[in-house]
Symmetry: C2
Subunit: 460 residues, 2 copies
């Protein structure tokens, strides 16, 4: 019997996880992974630690160097190769060697798309200036470090106020660079935090010396030698700077599949079933380029998170390799939950914000409280908790938390509850541990639940 040919497109996180699981599932399969960039199997989430200079060598972000990956998973690896076209009839992908421009056809029995997501750069801000960057790939991170390391940059502008923007703020502050952030509506993490919680983060950033401006970048002023001079904004400001990061959003990279006839959902990501089959037979998809099922509402959502990348990669790899043997692997519904260190402030969210829920057509109310992290008689700091619930029967929809060390971890309890369809009463009833030096007699989450109970009773 001929070995099954499995091709995986995309080499950052989900693709390598798919290769590893496919290999575990079928020791005979002929497995190939194709990646446009020079690296595979690296930790994109840790790039800010390299950009900051805390890690000197970008190789430390790489889990498997190419040679090691090939050996470990007995697979063929094409880096610097771009897949240009999928022919679903012939089951062939056309691949271009980006070094030689040579094109070749690779046939497959099973195909896995793990192409991830890419940066959205508004046309007016596209630039070849060496000082203007995005941060999606490890090559992007190296390019930033190559810009920052040899020079003294006094002031940087970050266009955008999402996760990448906040990560790089922290990296630049670590380098002693002054930062201006251009934030739509003057807010940060807009999809995750409601306005009142965002305001706490903005206050903290400004205390750390970051200027957060409610302005939109309209164009870049680049000198003839390619260096940046300034960012121009929609209120006519000209913000002088020596470095610019464009972190204005991401989108799933799905052109290849769309061209091949794969269906995408409202979010633009591929529609898949729980086995991660796309709409075209023989093609699976995983990672940031697919829609997942939200555990709270059942809606299809994008959830570009590392854990989803690994998990979905393993499911796609297993199912592509199994050939009907055993039970198919499944990706269950997920909860969108994130954490970030915003210049030392811990910020985490899970599920739905009031704003996001309402724009998705859900009834949602929020309640925000601040309480101590431990007894008033011991060392403690304030924790700010926002709960989001369905007003009609108190089902939990999400939560947000902001505080100092240890705050972000506390979001996991709400995530665990969200998966069970829990109500505000269920949260209130949790037997939170109490120890004066470690936790107050009444946990902040419990107090938030109590306040929400009162609010909902009032509403009925």
């Amino acid at each position: 019997m001929k070995a099954k040919k499995i091709i995986v497109i995309g080499g950052v996180a989900s693709g390598p996880a798919a290769v590893a699981e496919a290999r575990r599932t079928d020791s005979e399969a002929d497995i190939t992974i194709v990646e446009m960039g020079p690296d595979i199997s690296y930790s994109a989430c840790e790039m800010p630690l390299y950009v900051s200079g805390e890690i000197a060598n970008s190789e430390r972000l790489v889990r498997y160097a190419v040679a090691k990956f090939k050996e470990q998973f007995s697979s063929t690896v094409f880096t610097h190769h771009e897949v240009e076209r999928i022919d679903v009839q012939k089951r062939v992908v056309m691949v271009r060697d980006l070094t030689t421009q040579h094109e070749r056809a690779l046939s497959y029995d099973k195909l896995i798309l793990a192409t991830g997501s890419g940066a959205v750069v508004p046309e007016a801000l596209q630039s070849s200036s060496r000082d203007v960057h995005i941060l999606r790939s490890l090559q992007d991170a190296r390019s930033i470090v190559d810009t920052l390391d040899p020079r003294t940059i006094h002031h940087a502008v970050i266009v955008g106020s999402g996760f990448v923007g906040l990560d790089v703020v922290e990296s630049l502050l670590h380098r002693g660079i002054r930062v201006t952030m251009l934030a739509s509506e003057g807010r940060v993490l807009k999809g995750s935090l409601d306005a009142d919680m965002s305001a706490l983060v903005v206050d903290h950033l400004e205390q750390k010396g970051v200027s957060v401006r409610n302005e939109r970048a309209t164009s870049l002023d680049v000198a003839p030698d390619g260096s940046i001079r300034a960012v121009l904004t929609d209120i006519g400001e000209k913000i002088g700077c020596g470095f610019v990061l464009i972190a204005a959003g991401t989108r799933p990279l799905t052109e290849l599949g769309i061209q091949a006839g794969l269906k995408t959902g409202e979010s633009g990501a591929y529609e898949v079933d729980s086995q991660l089959r796309t709409s075209v037979p023989g093609i699976w998809a995983c990672g940031d380029c697919i829609e997942k099922k939200d555990a709270v509402t059942g809606k299809s959502i994008r959830a570009p998170l590392a854990l989803n990348a690994f998990r979905s990669g393993r499911v796609a790899g297993r199912n592509a390799a199994r050939s009907g043997k055993g039970r198919p692997a499944q990706l269950g519904p997920i909860v969108m939950a994130t954490a970030i260190s915003a210049s030392g402030l811990e910020v985490a969210h899970t599920g739905w914000s009031v704003e996001e829920a309402q724009s998705a057509g859900l009834a949602a109310v929020g309640e925000t409280i601040t309480h101590r992290s431990a007894s008033s008689l011991a060392n403690h700091h304030p924790l700010c908790v926002r709960l989001v619930a369905d007003p009609s029967w108190g089902k939990l929809l999400g939560a947000q938390i902001i505080g100092l060390q240890g705050a972000a971890q506390r979001i996991n309890i709400i995530t665990a509850l969200l998966r069970t369809g829990a109500t505000v009463d269920d949260l209130y009833n949790v037997d939170f541990v109490y120890s004066p030096r470690l936790a107050p007699a009444h946990d902040a989450m419990m107090i938030a639940a109590r306040m929400m109970q009162k609010r909902l009773i009032g509403k009925r």
Copy 2:
């Protein structure tokens, strides 16, 4: 209509909560609280911060001074009064003023027992030496401080290795006093931690200079002037010291109710229903002196925890005062979950240890893992997690966690899951947040769940 007479016996935590809720429920009731000691409404859990000297004034542990409590809840308060007998036929309690020895009869319509738990002191260790103490009440704490403050004590012996013992170790170390702990089987927190986890705590204590000895105290050597000279142990050792704490266990204080015919369960605590009614009409009980229903197994357990004291106090207070109006309040099943700072090491547990489960006749297996608190490239420290599950279908039974700052908080997620009857798979599937500076890509809890999954598959 005559005002309803409600008497609450016991004034530390559950009793005052019962008074407060009874007053909220019935603004007309005639409410009396009787307490043996001089204080009511104080935070017993925070006493170690006073013993350590971190808090100079014991009044800071008191939430409501007597006068303020009387006013706030329009209630009669008898401190320094002991209830000697309940006459359930006549609905009368006989109360002795401990100052004057005067006895009086107080009649009630509804009675609430909130007598809590007391220290178990082996007969051979009972002593009137000023240097030999227990720590149950605020008076005990004052007595300890009065012993420690004026003198230079070099070495203390703590008999027992449970929560009170560990709390006082931390307090004494804070005062610069060397500590020897006599620990049965050389273990700490035996009901909460399995042996491997206990060993980590013992190692830490010994690193902090505490001598943890697997010896039993058999008698005390007290000088004629009442000062302690030494603790003698079962292996013939004579441990010289200037201070002794007996923290050898607690028991529910139920003599009063037993005499009045109230039923107690296997644990010795009062049997109550979900409305906290005892077996005798007109008498409710709450706090440390009652049995609760364990949410994991449905078994009746003691769970002497502050949160349970408050919650059960409110339920008893509401139900005693409601006179059939509205729906009765209920205390739902609870999860026994604790946290403690053991000389800087955070230790938490929830649900059942393997040992406790097995001695209760449950099938249980444990799996212990150690993983990082954050990315290997960022600041991180080790977290040790032990999961306990039913081997036949993977139902979670409990967990234990040990680590540095933030470790104990993580136990709450397991507690929340335990309440839902979750399995190891449910824990594995939680969308733990990931952010390199705050949490690793794969959370320690998730890794523990994965290891348990593998173990259980192997067992089937």
